[in-house]
């Protein structure tokens, strides 16, 4: 069994019209056993940057803490906020720092740079993919891809994007035994961040 499948999870992110949404399930498992139903997999790094992480839960926690560490020091030294594109690079270089003892995570960075949506996804050692439409991660990843392809179109308005991501997450994680047990969707627009919690089938 792969180390990436030990805790389980499903993360999906999609671009919209001057907005971006990222959703994740809430399950924390130990193989077949469910241990928690409110495990956090999406982290707000900055007003306009969100980091979603799939993979090994302990590395999700530690890696997000390491990114927060680096981001805080950047803010203090540079006296300014980090641009999303710069954060994308920072995640990649941090992952590669641990090339020979990697974090077992599948990160998705989501951000708004001057109103333009940015999504990037990586493998566990920092290979960056700047996607044009959507990204998935976690044990439910492959299942989420199919739904993303079906529902994605260009310039989805914000209110619709939340709905779409919610439906994709629910349907995709339902099929995966290791993902589900609740969901949360973060919608990032130029004005604010809207967080919506989803009720799912509790199985």
């Amino acid at each position: 069994m792969s180390i990436f499948d030990y805790n389980g999870g499903g993360i999906v992110a999609m671009k919209g019209k001057n907005c971006i949404a990222i959703g994740a399930d809430r399950r924390l498992g130990q193989q077949m056993k469910t241990v928690s139903t409110n495990f956090k997999k999406i982290f707000r790094m900055q007003d306009n940057i969100l980091l979603g992480l799939g993979g090994l839960a302990t590395d999700i926690e530690t890696f997000s803490a390491e990114m927060e560490y680096k981001l805080n020091l950047y803010n203090l030294r540079e006296n300014r906020k980090l641009k999303p594109t710069a954060f994308v690079s920072l995640v990649s270089s941090t992952l590669y720092e641990h090339r020979w003892g990697p974090y077992f995570v599948s990160p998705i960075v989501v951000g708004l740079q001057d109103g333009t949506p940015v999504i990037s996804t990586y493998d566990s050692i920092g290979c960056t993919t700047d996607t044009e439409n959507f990204a998935v991660a976690g044990t439910a990843g492959e299942l989420l891809y199919g739904l993303c392809e079906t529902y994605y179109r260009e310039d989805i308005p914000a209110e619709e994007l939340v709905e779409i991501i919610g439906q994709i997450l629910l349907a995709g994680c339902d099929r995966d035994a290791l993902a589900g047990w609740g969901g949360v969707v973060y919608l990032l627009t130029t004005d604010n961040l809207h967080i919506r919690e989803l009720k799912t089938k509790q199985t």
Binding site: A65, E68, Y69, L73, L76
Partner: protein, 230 residues
């Protein structure tokens, strides 16, 4: 002997005042700026943020201070990484001071020519104000002045400090003490830098630096004849 020289160096530098009130902490300092040719940087040259809950004011050699500020920022972030919490102010101050002390006893290197005022809030001791000097000695204060004419400023603070002051009263006291060190009755706002840390209605810690207009208002409220910029 080197420590004494370093301490002397601090006393020649532009002064800094720190006041602790029930509502928060205020810092007032005189800029060391001398030339109009100097390109002013966007951020302060004397007041630095060390983490979201603690700030410091520098007196003395800027280069020495910058190094220690970097050290304390990293130390604070390491603490946050390990404990997912704000670092207690005293621990941060002690860390910086331990480094300063090492350079007075080990290695034959000169001491850091930098003195600091640290101010911040933590859940154990609430608002706190500390000073540290090149020897690595530190102490907690209700009100303190370092730098030029600190003796006069400190005796002024001793006479005029009261328990239970509001932030406004703290700002008034700070600016009066600062003007005592500059030894002028008509200070110019661009030479002064004043900031305060307090909790807003939501209970969140906020740090604010007064802009030039607000410094002007503060000076005028305290009956200083303000020298306008030429």
């Amino acid at each position: 002997m080197q420590v004494e020289n370093a301490l002397e160096g601090i006393n020649q530098a532009g002064s800094s005042i720190g006041i602790l009130t029930d509502e928060g902490i205020t810092f007032a300092c005189e800029r060391d700026v001398s030339s109009s040719l100097l390109e002013l940087s966007k951020h302060s040259e004397k007041i630095f943020c060390l983490d979201r809950h603690v700030h410091c004011v520098v007196s003395g050699l800027a280069a020495d201070a910058n190094l220690l500020i970097e050290v304390s920022r990293v130390h604070s972030q390491r603490f946050r990484y390990s404990y997912r919490e704000n670092i207690p102010i005293q621990e941060l101050v002690r860390h910086v001071c331990d480094i300063k002390q090492r350079y007075t006893q080990v290695g034959g290197q000169r001491p850091f020519g930098a003195a600091f005022l640290f101010g911040g809030w933590d859940k154990t001791f609430k608002f706190q104000l500390y000073s540290s000097d090149p020897s690595g000695n530190f102490a907690g204060w209700k009100a303190i002045a370092i730098g030029k004419n600190h003796v006069a400023a400190n005796s002024f603070l001793k006479e005029n400090y009261q328990e239970g002051m509001t932030m406004t009263q703290g700002l008034d006291l700070a600016v009066k003490a600062l003007c005592k060190t500059i030894d002028t009755t008509n200070p110019s706002p661009d030479k002064l830098e004043i900031m305060y840390m307090t909790k807003n209605e939501a209970g969140e810690l906020v740090a604010k630096t007064l802009n030039e207009k607000e410094v002007l208002e503060l000076l005028q409220r305290n009956n200083f004849q303000v020298k306008q910029k030429e």
